[in-house]
């Protein structure tokens, strides 16, 4: 298929048909008014050819909808500049080699799930020997000395640890995002790092299933890693970014 990058539209069964599936609930009693409101809402979102596939009474004056429609929106993909952590992929052996040669010591990494968040599995899968989906974790690299602080760690404790072990890198995990609590936690940590005057010396990286690189940059972090991140991605980024940093 020849796709026009300047005019990317969803594809159902015809090029450019704009087919999209939606589902949502409206706070309206089940009935024709709810149906019409749903249709108009979709129109207001720029949909055409709206099919109300189902509407169902889910009680307490709420109605649930499954809808198919054709969006009039499109995207100019040729104008998109992708932001993503930059690195080329090297093997574990190569990274260990590079670090030995260029640093002549281990890179010190402090990892923690901060704030009230108690999820450790994601962070562990980046740090622990075992790693993630057959990709070994940072502890398995000669290149890194890893301090895994676990979960529910306060920013103050993180800074304490960073000083204690003279860390090069902080790896922060955030999994709970309800009511944007992760933004709060991440901002607190960054503010403290600046207040304590340690920000500049560090690479500060955040990860979690709902984290994007874009968000990380917005919050003043050096990189953000999302769902499905492999430890080797993180390892590559750390080593290559530190080299860039030190060569500046």
């Amino acid at each position: 298929m020849n796709t026009d990058l300047r005019n990317i539209r969803p594809y159902g069964d015809q090029s450019g048909d704009g087919a999209v599936q939606l589902s949502f609930t409206l706070p309206l009693q089940y009935g024709p008014l709810a149906r019409e409101a749903a249709k108009r809402l979709c129109e207001n979102m720029g949909f055409q050819d709206i099919t109300i596939a189902t509407m169902e009474d889910i009680g307490e004056n709420f109605t649930f909808f499954v809808i198919y429609g054709k969006t009039t929106a499109s995207v100019d993909a040729s104008a998109i500049k992708v932001v993503a952590p930059k690195f080329k992929k090297m093997t574990r052996e190569q990274l260990d080699e590079v670090v030995k040669r260029e640093f002549n010591r281990r890179i010190v990494v402090v990892g923690a799930t901060i704030g009230t968040d108690a999820h450790t599995v994601g962070l562990d899968s980046i740090l622990n020997m075992k790693g993630f989906h057959g990709d070994y974790g940072l502890e398995r690299y000669h290149a890194f000395k890893v301090y895994n602080m676990g979960a529910q760690v306060s920013p103050v404790e993180v800074v304490k640890k960073v000083r204690e072990v003279d860390a090069d890198v902080i790896l922060v995990s955030q999994v709970v995002t309800q009511r944007n609590v992760h933004i709060k936690h991440l901002t607190e940590l960054m503010d403290l790092l600046y207040a304590e005057g340690v920000r500049e010396d560090l690479l500060v990286v955040v990860g979690g299933p709902r984290i994007t690189h874009e968000l990380a940059l917005e919050l003043g972090y050096d990189a953000g890693f999302g769902a499905g991140t492999t430890p080797s991605d993180v390892a590559n980024f750390i080593v290559q970014e530190l080299l860039r940093k030190y060569s500046r």
Binding site: Y11, D13, Q14, A53, T54, E56, V66, Y68
Partner: protein, 521 residues
């Protein structure tokens, strides 16, 4: 594949088959006495006639219509047509074109019977040779790439545009499809000709044309080599052009054809004699070229209740089996159909589904039976539909079905989108893998609900077959015994295309097929 067993009443099974044989024996006599315009067009196609007039009318239609007009049809098209080839020393295609341009066969001298017969034999052998080669190529590719495990994952594409179909089919294969079917445009089955060339405008499906077959075959073979897995191609030999489509499919190397002895009668209101005659020739072709047929018993359950009328599925399967045997088909080509169509809100519906699936599996133990997904009770709630499909896939892998038409979560909404098919595969891949050997762990209680229910359906099928034997199949259909639909023997579409063969009727292709398949003589 390991699967649970249930005990069926062995005597009843044999009796049911005997009844179906008697029923079809009677119909077969009638079939022998008739031919149809589509059968005659098939002969011409296999002789090598192709192409359309400026008005998009296939040359084979023009020729057969002319011969009919000239009142020469009762002898079959072969003799007058080949006579023209012999006396004018032209190819079949040239003769057909000449007829379009006004050549009147009545005006031609008659070559000797011997010459005509020799030429007919030569043409028939040549064409069967071509088909044989094609089917050998398929066999070879299958051996080379390897056959995927059963249940095969069967997916439909139906964009209306063959080029979009290719895109969708390629993606589906990449996602794990083992079989790709192109659904036909609505009402193609009522066209008394096969459309021509690559088509881009269909409704609810894409026209079945020889060129579309070829385009899709190419795409699937490409993908098969890429994913290193043989991919089967399906189309429909139903409707008014059953034998023609079977011929085109054989020439283009399709693997499976929807083909049912009664579907056209019941669901497309096509004349009975037309359908019975056409199905016989189409099945001779399938049998010869190794094309698996898929019957359409699932359709009964979309109009009638799936619990009440479960036995009509069984009865029809047995009838389809006997008709197929008469056309020289081996059981390994008989993809008899059944379906998971019980209202999901029925208490213990799943137990009924298991019983029905086990019955079909036990009755046709080594046949590539085809299991059809929930459609009638699919609604716009795509999530609920997806849950229903999960249990459908589970029943299939547990009971060891062969060909699994994957359910589509948007069944009640539109013909499938690209990702609807992807989601269907996700579901099937998950369930088939996660429950891979469930069938060898599970035993159904002796004399439990499932075993009892399966035997009950069998008994009801026998009752229906007994009645059908007594009154005759034609009468039974008139009574509305199948799918609650009643059709008159002298009604329905395409009746005008049926004719009684004369004493001197000749169909060299049919003769050759019957000979090679050992069906006659």
């Amino acid at each position: 594949m390991d699967r649970p067993k249930i005990r069926l009443d062995k005597k009843l099974v044999d009796y049911a088959r005997q009844l179906a044989k008697e029923i079809t024996d009677e119909v077969q006599q009638m079939i022998e006495q008739h031919s149809t315009v589509s059968v005659e067009r098939t002969v011409l196609r296999l002789f090598g006639v192709d192409g359309v007039t400026d008005d998009q009318i296939p040359l084979v239609n023009v020729v057969v219509d002319k011969i009919k007009e000239w009142e020469m049809l009762q002898d079959g098209v072969a003799k007058p047509f080949v006579n023209a080839m012999v006396v004018l020393d032209k190819s079949a295609q040239q003769i057909a074109e000449a007829i379009v341009d006004g050549l009147d066969l009545r005006s031609l001298p008659r070559a000797s019977n011997e010459k005509i017969n020799m030429k007919m034999l030569e043409l028939s052998r040549q064409s069967l040779e071509t088909i044989s080669k094609k089917s050998q190529q398929r066999e070879d590719l299958l051996k080379e790439l390897g056959d995927p495990p059963q249940p095969y994952k069967y997916l439909i594409v139906a964009t209306g545009n063959i080029y979009e179909d290719v895109v969708q089919a390629r993606a589906a294969v990449q996602q794990g499809a083992d079989i790709i079917a192109i659904i036909r445009s609505t009402a193609q089955s009522l066209l008394d000709y096969v459309p021509y060339g690559a088509t881009t405008e269909g409704y609810g499906g894409t026209y079945a044309t020889q060129e579309n077959f070829r385009i899709m075959r190419q795409a699937l073979d490409d993908m098969a080599r890429k994913v290193k897995r043989y991919v089967r191609q399906v189309n429909y030999a139903s409707g008014l052009c059953m034998p023609e489509i079977a011929a085109l499919a054989a020439m283009e190397g399709l693997d499976i054809l929807l083909n049912d002895a009664m579907y056209g009668i019941l669901f497309r209101d096509i004349n009975m004699i037309r359908t019975f005659t056409d199905q016989y020739i189409s099945r001779l072709l399938c049998a010869f070229s190794g094309i698996t047929i898929n019957t359409g018993e699932d359709n009964y359950l979309t109009t009638a209740d799936a619990i009440e009328k479960a036995h009509t599925v069984t009865a029809s399967q047995l009838v389809n089996e006997q008709f197929a045997l008469k056309a020289g088909m081996k059981s390994r080509l008989m993809g008899l159909g059944h379906a998971f169509e019980i209202d999901p809100d029925v208490e213990d519906g799943l137990l009924y589904e298991i019983a029905h699936a086990m019955l079909a599996r036990e009755l046709f133990a080594d046949y590539p039976i085809k299991y059809m997904p929930p459609t009638k009770f699919m609604t716009g709630n795509i999530f609920k539909g997806y849950a229903v499909e999960t249990l459908y896939n589970l029943v299939s892998v547990m009971t060891g079905q062969s060909i699994q038409l994957l359910g589509i979560l948007t069944e009640a909404i539109h013909t499938p989108y690209l990702h609807d098919r992807y989601l269907a595969l996700i579901n099937a891949n998950y369930v088939f893998n996660n429950a891979r050997h469930l069938g060898r762990e599970v035993i159904f209680k002796k004399d439990g609900f499932i075993e009892k229910r399966a035997n009950q359906v069998l008994r009801e099928a026998v009752d229906l077959l007994e009645h059908t034997r007594d009154v005759g199949l034609l009468r039974a259909i008139e009574e509305g015994q199948f799918a609650d639909i009643s059709r008159a023997r002298d009604g329905g579409k395409g009746l005008e295309g049926v004719f009684r063969k004369s004493e001197s009727y000749v169909n060299p292709i049919q003769d050759e097929l019957e000979k090679r398949l050992g069906v006659k003589k």
